[in-house]
Symmetry: C2
Subunit: 341 residues, 2 copies
């Protein structure tokens, strides 16, 4: 599956702006951040390799273009949301005890949890510093303040979502509504924020800004539902995570929440038994996958993702946008629910 | 020992502003923050009890008054630094495995480490939101931006200091210079930032702003050295920590760093032996305290604290300040190195 071209168009400059935010900052803490961002190996030697897709900054810059703005001006906001996203990943890996991300050892698995907390905290602060660079782009001060508000509120929602995600792990009574509330905060908030910030920095039209925020919200839901799909039916080669990894981690991802709601009789009892265990083993993973198959969970998840994709396309079509950029936004939306990585 | 009156003067309004930042935010995550701030017990019931001294916000508001400013305008910055300080405490307790703070169980010891990371992350973000409230106080936008810069850079230094503090725990080659570099970041940066922000919000005189920053830096060093003193010679009743607790935790606090530099022969070997152990026991604590006594570490530490106190008083006297507030700043400086809690 090919990445939409928008990813390529901005990649170099997002990378340059990110590196510039960290430039001149020299201490082991910044090396940990550079490691997490995929720029150096654990000994600090530069590497060329897989880094993140930079989804959020790409969406932000594309939104800015789509509303007729000059996307270069929005680069500081693009790097800021990428740093927020990455600080949350560093902390997520600690919280979830995950030893691997993007085919590499996680920060905490190399430097230990206490120092990884520090690496995340610094990156969180660097996100603020990155956003303050809007001042170098002749963005009106009022707009800068508003951008800071938007990003901070999104960050609060992201962490609150992470709170619910963790709190769901040991519960067996999570319904689809609880799940949606959680991913709206954990995943959709920062994606909605990215589109909103892009629109804000490219336009003064409040309807357009609101419209792109709304689009980002449903797109974020679709994105996370696809992520949940890949967490069970994705392949390690593509996603970097072993197949069925979300089952092993007892994540209340949408397929599981759906199955808990739908399963009856023996299947329901088996599911509850497995999710009450301290450790889920290989045969349990197979059993859960069997139950999901029987309940046609796979096609349910695909339909749900497409439901939110459809809504995001309606939002895009309801806003007056630069036609070429609008088409690219649509391509991006489709990519997010069809990707296999 | 009596608290300087400045603490009393601002307490109510700092508290009100802090509560207002959290007002209307309802989720278990915010309850964890309210618990940490001493407003509720672990079940969310309001309590009246010991909370922090609010040292940093008090210094900030006093600095604002001292430069002839209206301190009410600076309240958002005062609460912001208090939130930065408290987010770092929540994460520190996780990193240090500390189960108790201010005579109460720490956040992580009640809600677990993963959720305590979230509580700290949210409080970190709330600090930014608190600072954005300067906009309601008719503070010029340029000044707000500059305040944000100052606070973010201080926060980066604080976390970097925390990085070094942890990295020193398993090292036996830490000298007094390394120690000073570490506390300048871990403790002095936020105190210097508090005085700088207070001055910035009360004055346009760059010399005055720089002077109060410099004063805060040495005051922060003096404060931390006194903290190290109390970590070994303080009493649990006053400090909330068992006597000798820093020895048990293998903290490279100034008395220990000094002793490692000064000890010779048997004392040196004993010290190194003890600090190479995985767990330091009661008799080891006694042995270390014996070595510190023999090296007159207690009076060395007191002299060091007074050295920085003297420098802070010189700084205060070198800046044109409102006389009554300048006297209060001096009283505050003395309190910080003479306090027994």
């Amino acid at each position: 599956m090919r990445l939409p071209l928008a990813f390529e168009r901005y990649r170099c400059e997002i990378d340059a702006e990110l590196r510039s935010v960290l430039a001149g900052r020299e201490s082991p803490l910044y090396e940990m951040m550079r490691y997490h961002l995929g720029w150096v190996d654990e000994h600090g030697h530069p590497v060329q390799g897989s880094v993140g897709k930079c989804l959020r900054p790409t969406l932000l810059l594309l939104a800015c273009e789509a509303v007729g703005g000059a996307w270069h001006k929005a680069l500081p906001a693009a790097t800021a949301v990428e740093l927020v996203h990455n600080f949350s990943l560093i902390h997520d890996d600690i919280q979830d005890d995950d030893r691997e991300r993007r085919h590499r050892p996680t920060v905490w698995s190399i430097w230990g949890k206490p120092q990884a907390i520090n690496a995340g905290d610094s990156m969180h602060t660097l996100a603020d510093i990155a956003l303050l660079r809007l001042g170098d782009q002749c963005v009106a001060l009022e707009k800068q303040q508003r951008a800071h508000h938007i990003m901070s509120e999104a960050c609060l929602r992201l962490v609150e979502g992470q709170y619910y995600d963790i709190s769901y792990e040991n519960r067996l009574d999570i319904g689809v509504d609880d799940y949606l509330k959680m991913i709206e905060m954990k995943s959709a908030a920062l994606i909605a924020c990215s589109l909103e910030l892009g629109a804000l920095l490219g336009s003064d039209d409040e309807d357009v800004i609101r419209g792109l925020f709304a689009c980002g919200r449903v797109l974020g839901l679709a994105f996370q539902i696809r992520d949940d799909f890949l967490g069970i039916w994705g392949t390690q080669k593509k996603t970097g995570k072993p197949s069925g990894s979300d089952i092993r981690r007892k994540k209340k991802s949408l397929p599981i929440v759906y199955a808990m709601e739908k399963a009856r009789g023996t299947a329901k009892r088996e599911l509850l038994n497995i999710y009450q265990k301290d450790v889920i083993e290989g045969q349990d993973v197979d059993a859960v996958q069997g139950i999901l198959d029987a309940l046609k969970a796979k096609s349910y998840i695909e339909e749900e993702a497409h439901k939110y994709l459809k809504r995001s396309l309606e939002e895009i079509r309801g806003i007056p946008l630069v036609p070429s950029a609008a088409l690219e936004l649509e391509e991006m939306a489709r990519f997010l629910v069809e990707r296999d990585f």
